[in-house]
């Protein structure tokens, strides 16, 4: 029983001992039959009462979580068919590896069994399962067993989860076709993301959990099949196009939402993500661990609120136009950033982290006390500045719904579009700054500060520029956030809390998404905003779950979800020389975000 080590990508797929002994043909048929049966089972009733979210009682068409199972079943079937080398589906699994098939089967299995178990546990017993539920459970198990009966890709269990070997190069297609592929991928990303945001707010977040399970395993399968790599190389070739399409896809998002609540989530994600991107300049590029970054968001928000004309503002008489408020917010954050940075940036590493943590808290406590009784009356203390009026830009009141091309854009949708413009600006600033003399000096400082100064870089000055730029970008986001949320209060601007934004979550978004990339923090921020929002039933256990998730991620993918190519090599010593296909180093493009948002 000696296992051969590597898949060869030969027509018969991988050579290796299957976990379950079964002829290869039978195994494939088992997968296909199981997938079809899974799809069919979603037409049956799974439970008898409509108490379970999504109403799974109907025979004849799928609903709620059954839709996710159906999607899983279809994907499993498609991947099973790649084993027969069906024309037109080969691109799904270029190496014809067994790993992606197994993972896709696992995706359908996970969401189905999650649903069945949730029904049983929540409603109190197996009696609540209709026969359809049993059918679904068994049917979704079959493809997993079938995939385990396929030759194992490598010697260990892990090989099922690893990226396939010998993925052939993609066929040459004309540039216009590549652009169509990018567009389709981004559209798919938008659909998945929209579905995720739009999942009903069940009591225990069942639909969202099922959605996350499906997306997690399906993305994994697609990654193992090598499709994500292909997509990122496509992106690198059409960088400008992919980026603009990604923003277009994001701009389409509010038009797909009939409920303004979802647009509210969207705009909050954008604010959070933009701030995370600003932090990425400080942490990801320059390597300065800043644990008080959320204070800059607060400075921007307070500055904008003070000049917004709110009756609770100290300067309630003044109402600057929006561009004025933005400049004031950015300038205030910038000054605050320089004030904090100038004394602290002489410190290195842990010391800097501690000092920034302190300054972050100082901001919150100071704002809390500037209420007239324990200090000058500027911020109205814990009550904050309420009733911030809606913005009016060029006569366009963002607070009122507007009908554009037959779509009604509510208040939050308006702000979403406004914030998107700012996110685009921040992305532009980030990419341009990173790829320049100053960006290189940031990275050099991160890599080796002593060597960097010996190469003529004025370490303090360059770090201060990074710190101030990061602060100004956070302030920019803060000005919008003040108007979106009607009021500013001190509480959100703390170091750690159960919901974003706070410094710990911001840092986590950067690290989780991938340091030094553009798409990483955007994706990380989306996840870190959506998950607590949708799984609010976790309440007190939220931070525990968050901590466990972070530990797992750092154990298995320390470079973050979207790896900077440099980091990837740093953490996974492959011994391989790093020879890029393109001339320049592609820092994950924004386009990749959307695609992986699909994956998120």
């Amino acid at each position: 029983m000696t296992d051969t080590t590597k898949t060869t990508g030969a027509p018969q797929g991988a050579q290796g001992t299957p976990v379950i002994p079964l002829p290869a043909g039978a195994a494939r048929i088992l997968i296909a039959v199981g997938a079809v049966a899974t799809m069919a089972s979603t037409m049956l009733a799974w439970t008898w009462t409509s108490e379970f979210p999504g109403d799974l009682t109907v025979t004849g068409y799928p609903a709620g979580l059954q839709l996710l199972t159906l999607t899983g079943g279809i994907l499993t079937l498609l991947y099973a068919l790649t084993l027969w080398n069906v024309r037109g589906l080969r691109w799904l699994n270029p190496a014809r590896a067994n790993g992606p098939v197994f993972l896709m089967a696992l995706a359908a299995f996970a969401v189905t069994w999650y649903t069945v178990l949730a029904i049983t546990i929540e409603l109190g017993g197996l009696a609540n399962l209709e026969p359809g539920g049993y059918v679904a459970a068994v049917a979704s198990l079959l493809p997993v067993l079938g995939a385990l009966a396929l030759p194992r890709p490598g010697d260990t269990w892990k090989s099922y989860f690893a990226k396939a070997d010998d993925i052939p190069a993609a066929h040459e297609v004309p540039a216009w076709a590549e652009r169509i592929i990018i567009t389709l991928c981004l559209a798919l990303g938008l659909i998945v993301f929209t579905y995720g945001i739009g999942t009903p707010d069940d009591e225990y977040g069942e639909t969202f959990s099922g959605f996350m399970l499906l997306v997690l395993f399906a993305t994994w399968a697609v990654f193992a099949a090598g499709l994500t790599d292909r997509f990122s190389s496509l992106n690198a070739r059409h960088k400008g196009f992919a980026t603009s399409m990604a923003f277009l896809a994001a701009a389409v998002f509010p038009f797909t939402q009939s409920e303004d609540h979802n647009a509210n989530i969207g705009v909050n994600i954008l604010i959070f993500a933009t701030v995370a991107l600003g932090l990425n300049i400080v942490v990801g590029l320059t390597g300065l661990l800043d644990l008080g970054y959320v204070a800059f968001l607060g400075v921007g928000a307070y500055a904008a609120a003070l000049v917004s004309g709110s009756e609770y503002s100290r300067f309630s008489g003044t109402q600057l136009p929006f561009w004025g408020a933005v400049l004031v917010g950015m300038a205030a954050s910038l000054i605050f950033g320089v004030l904090i940075g100038a004394p602290t940036l002489r410190l290195r590493g842990d010391y800097l982290a501690i000092v920034t943590l302190g300054f972050g808290e100082i901001f919150r406590i100071a704002v809390n006390n500037l209420d007239g009784s324990s200090g000058p009356d500027i911020t109205n203390g814990p009550n904050g500045i309420a009733n911030i009026p809606d913005l009016e830009i060029l006569g366009f009141n963002l607070g009122e719904p507007h009908v554009i091309a037959g779509f009604t854009l509510g208040r939050f949708a308006n702000y979403f579009l406004l914030m998107l413009v700012f996110t685009a600006i921040v992305v532009l600033v980030f990419t341009r700054a990173a790829d320049s003399r100053i960006g290189r000096s940031w990275v050099a400082i991160r890599e080796d500060e002593t060597a960097a100064t010996a190469m003529g870089i004025n370490g303090f000055r360059v770090k201060l520029v990074a710190f101030a730029l990061g602060a100004a970008l956070a302030g920019l986001a803060g000005t919008v956030s003040a108007h979106v949320s009607y009021s500013v209060v001190p509480t959100p601007y703390q170091f750690a809390g159960a919901a974003p934004p706070n410094s710990a979550f911001l840092l986590a978004a950067v690290v989780l998404g991938g340091m030094g990339t553009v798409s990483g923090p955007l994706l990380g921020a989306s996840l870190l905003y959506l998950i607590p929002e949708k799984l609010s039933f976790l309440k007190n256990y939220e931070l525990l779950a968050f901590g466990i998730a972070l530990i797992l991620l750092m154990r298995f993918r320390p470079e973050g979800i979207i790896a900077n190519r440099r980091r990837q090599l740093e953490f996974h010593e492959t011994g391989q020389l790093d020879i890029p296909e393109q001339q320049s180093l592609p820092e994950g493009t924004i386009g990749a975000t959307k695609a992986t948002k699909a994956g998120a």
């Binding site: 100053i438 050099a444 010996a454 190469m455 391989q576």
Partner: protein
């Protein structure tokens, strides 16, 4: 005829009660290769750090082409003195080309605004920097690896890249801290040629090294540092013949020592090795 590039006078470095470098004077003239040798712990690297502003000397001053250097590393590099490190300190996760481009930092001045606005000036400066960096990579023979990560280079090439990075700052004086440490004889010879080529570009070189054959082949002048003090300075022959240098490296025999005979053998071997090196035959 020859202009002084580096003039260090009375450089003293104390760490608390320990005097690592004691009143060392050293001059390097244009087009000269000067060696700095000494046993381990003699204070060579400390002296280097004093020269390049990483340490602020307790006493003494360092001047470059007549003007006194401020004790800040980036200003020293700006003035025209670039260095390498004993333990390689490349920017490991940057590409080979990016490493050299970082070396160009002091010779370019595009700030944040020009990076954000991307005017024609920015593009021109970036293109010029890249062209210059590529010239240097060709000079050291790493042009074909421009997009490799510095960490993935073999050891010898990392040393070369560090030299290229230092050269990118267009120095008038290059300070090399043990450039051949850990190299095999072929690589050492290649480095020797590289240093000569650098000298031919009109750049003075000050080099710390333990490889005696390398240093005596290479240097116009050698200074010996022992316990923080300069013992001898002169041409290779002068230094090789100096009894105090041999004593500093091997210790002085005391009267009636049993190992006396053994020591003489060692000395004989040393002289033999030196002769071998001057003949230039390899091992």
């Amino acid at each position: 005829m020859t202009n002084t590039v580096l003039e260090a006078s009375g450089v003293t470095m104390r760490f608390g009660g320990l005097t690592a470098v004691r009143s060392v004077d050293l001059t390097v003239s244009e087009g000269e290769i000067v060696g700095l040798i000494g046993p381990n712990g003699a204070g060579k690297t400390t002296f280097f750090n004093c020269l390049t502003g990483l340490y602020i000397p307790t006493e003494g001053k360092v001047s470059y082409k007549g003007s006194v250097l401020p004790p800040k590393p980036h200003l020293v590099t700006q003035a025209g003195m670039a260095r390498t490190f004993q333990n390689i300190r490349l920017f490991a996760n940057m590409t080979v080309l990016e490493n050299v481009l970082v070396g160009r930092h002091t010779r370019t001045k595009e700030g944040l605004w020009s990076a954000l606005l991307r005017g024609p000036g920015f593009k021109k400066a970036e293109a010029a920097s890249e062209e210059r960096a590529m010239e240097l990579l060709e000079f050291i023979g790493l042009a074909h690896k421009r997009d490799h990560l510095a960490r993935s280079l073999p050891y010898g090439e990392q040393r070369k890249l560090e030299i290229a990075r230092a050269l990118a700052s267009e120095p008038g004086l290059l300070l090399l801290d043990e450039p051949t440490a850990g190299m095999n004889p072929q690589e050492t010879r290649a480095t020797e040629e590289l240093v000569f080529a650098i000298r031919d570009k009109g750049i003075a070189v000050l080099v710390i090294e333990h490889d005696m054959r390398f240093i005596f082949n290479l240097c116009d002048r050698v200074a010996v540092l022992v316990q923080g003090e300069k013992l001898v300075e002169g041409t290779s022959d002068v230094v090789q013949g100096d009894e105090r240098v041999i004593a500093a490296y091997l210790g002085t025999p005391f009267e009636g020592a049993p190992e006396d005979a053994a020591l003489q053998e060692v000395e004989a071997a040393e002289v033999h090795a030196a002769e071998g090196s001057s003949e230039g035959n390899d091992q």
